[in-house]
């Protein structure tokens, strides 16, 4: 009645499954590659990208201290994205043309959903499944996705209110118009 081999086998299996689940859905190398999902261009403000055209590391020294900036006041004014956020939480200090995850792994602007997904994991999951966010194109074929930032301003992500289109005409008013349109 030696149960030890079975126990070992069970433990090995458990470890294997644990590692399988622990490994993230994307490998580290994929962080900058948009995993085959066709996404549109990020909605940069006019003339702001590439950031390295100013932040080239020569004309301006990299200052990683949290502070009020002289530039980008339009962003600082609207920055409402959780408490205590500041630029370099997401923007990469070494290469301004990319972003970085909390662990420091670089992420391209075209794969910014990986960055968003660090906190909003449920939304990223739903977005990949097509439940969150907008898909256009073909229900049984090629689809176009939108990046998180196409709808949510990353600096102030709450979806902005819109002016509604006109309400329907009331039946009474339609009745009056009916006679004239025949």
């Amino acid at each position: 009645m030696n149960t030890r081999p079975i126990q070992f086998a069970g433990l090995a299996l458990l470890l294997l499954t644990a590692t399988a689940f622990a490994s993230p859905p994307e490998k580290k190398g994929d962080a900058s590659a948009p995993e085959g999902i066709q996404v549109p261009k990020p909605p940069f403000s006019e003339g702001i990208f590439p950031c390295t055209s100013c932040h080239d590391g020569k004309s301006m020294k990299v200052d990683t201290h949290r502070r009020e900036l002289g530039m980008h006041s339009e962003i600082q004014e609207i920055l409402h994205h959780g408490p205590n956020r500041w630029c370099l939480d997401c923007h990469d200090a070494q290469n301004r043309d990319r972003l970085h995850l909390a662990g420091g792994e670089p992420v391209a602007f075209t794969a910014s959903y990986l960055l968003c997904g660090q906190c909003h994991g449920d939304k990223l999951r739903d977005w990949r499944l097509g439940i969150h966010g907008k898909r256009t194109g073909s229900w049984n074929g090629q689809k176009q996705y939108l990046l998180c930032v196409n709808c949510h301003n990353p600096h102030s992500p709450h979806f902005k209110p819109l002016k509604p289109m006109p309400p329907p005409t009331r039946p009474d008013d339609i009745k009056m118009a009916k006679g004239g349109s025949q």
């Binding site: 739903d126 002016k163 509604p164 289109m165 339609i174 118009a177």
Partner: protein
């Protein structure tokens, strides 16, 4: 039974002497008398004698579509294509609308009007967006469809667009006395506008207010007419018939998303094949909190509402 085919004179109404057979003669005579009695003067003889869509042979359908396209071209001075794509095998369409995301901006209403050639005057809109109290929940007693604030969403409110729910047990189909409306194999409830007699029983039967009647001659500016149409969908309708949402049959049977899905700025509208286990619609049905509108009526809609958060 070859003589059952409708008469197709080369152009216009033939002279009475040109009638070849007894059937043809009687057909013309009946049509003329009926036109005189009912005042349907605008109806051509072919149109009057036309059969129900489901009984048409391929050749008959071809002739009818050619006639319709000719009529539309005369009316709008541009080519209008009338398609008749059948249901795809292995497909039943389903729709899900995220009530936690819809902000009631009505973009869908107007995209639908444009895509589906709804009359601008008198106004017909297949989608109706209801503004509801968050405190009341989904309660028709507290629904407002004429809301018009500067900005939506309004504090304390949520929005529920209602359109045809494409029921599996459609009461509208059940009451139609002439069989002018039916449920297609892919789950779309359609209307044969040439067979509809305009009795509006279906409108009384529909618990969702999804059917709309052409009280007046529908008016659309020629420039606004969408020329890509389907016989059972968005082809321009005559006065006196009922129309409804068809999940954009002219688009979805070609694999495209409906126009309301494409326009929605919040991505609240989801569409797909209920028989495809990997479709987003199935993901929603299996993983989200879903409900059917007026489920107690047992109409069994293929249109679902869900909460995405």
């Amino acid at each position: 039974m070859t003589d059952i085919k409708p008469i197709q004179p080369p152009t216009g109404v033939p002279e009475s002497g040109a009638c070849g057979s007894r059937r043809e003669f009687l057909g013309t005579a009946v049509a003329t008398v009926a036109m005189a009695l009912t005042g349907c003067g605008k109806l051509s003889k072919e149109e009057f004698l036309q059969h129900n869509f489901r009984e048409l042979s391929k050749d008959e359908l071809k002739t009818i579509i050619a006639r319709l396209e000719r009529e539309y071209e005369e009316k709008y001075h541009k080519a209008v294509k009338v398609g008749n794509e059948p249901a795809m095998p292995g497909v039943i369409f389903g729709y899900a609308l995220d009530l936690s995301r819809c902000i009631g901006c009505r973009r869908c209403v107007y995209a639908c009007v444009k895509e589906n050639n709804q009359s601008r005057d008198p106004q017909i809109q297949w989608i109706r967006v209801l503004e509801m109290d968050k405190e009341e929940g989904v309660n028709i007693q507290h629904a407002e469809q004429y809301y018009n604030p500067e900005e939506v969403p309004r504090e304390g409110h949520f929005y529920m667009p209602v359109q045809c729910q494409q029921c599996k047990r459609p009461p509208c189909v059940k009451v139609c006395p002439v069989g002018a409306t039916w449920r297609e194999k892919d789950g779309i409830v359609v209307v044969d506008y040439n067979w509809c007699i305009g009795c509006r029983y279906c409108m009384a039967a529909c618990p969702y207010g999804a059917r709309h009647f052409n009280w007046g001659e529908p008016h659309i500016d020629a420039a606004d007419v969408n020329p890509n149409t389907h016989y059972l969908g968005n082809r321009p309708r005559p006065k006196g018939v009922v129309e409804k949402c068809t999940f954009c049959i002219q688009r979805t049977r070609k694999g495209l998303y409906p126009a309301c899905v494409e326009i929605c700025p919040t991505g609240s509208r989801k569409f797909g094949n209920l028989l495809d286990a990997k479709s987003e619609i199935r993901e929603i049905l299996e993983n989200k909190r879903v409900f059917k509108f007026k489920e107690d009526l047992n109409t069994q809609p293929n249109f679902f509402y869900f909460y995405g958060v």
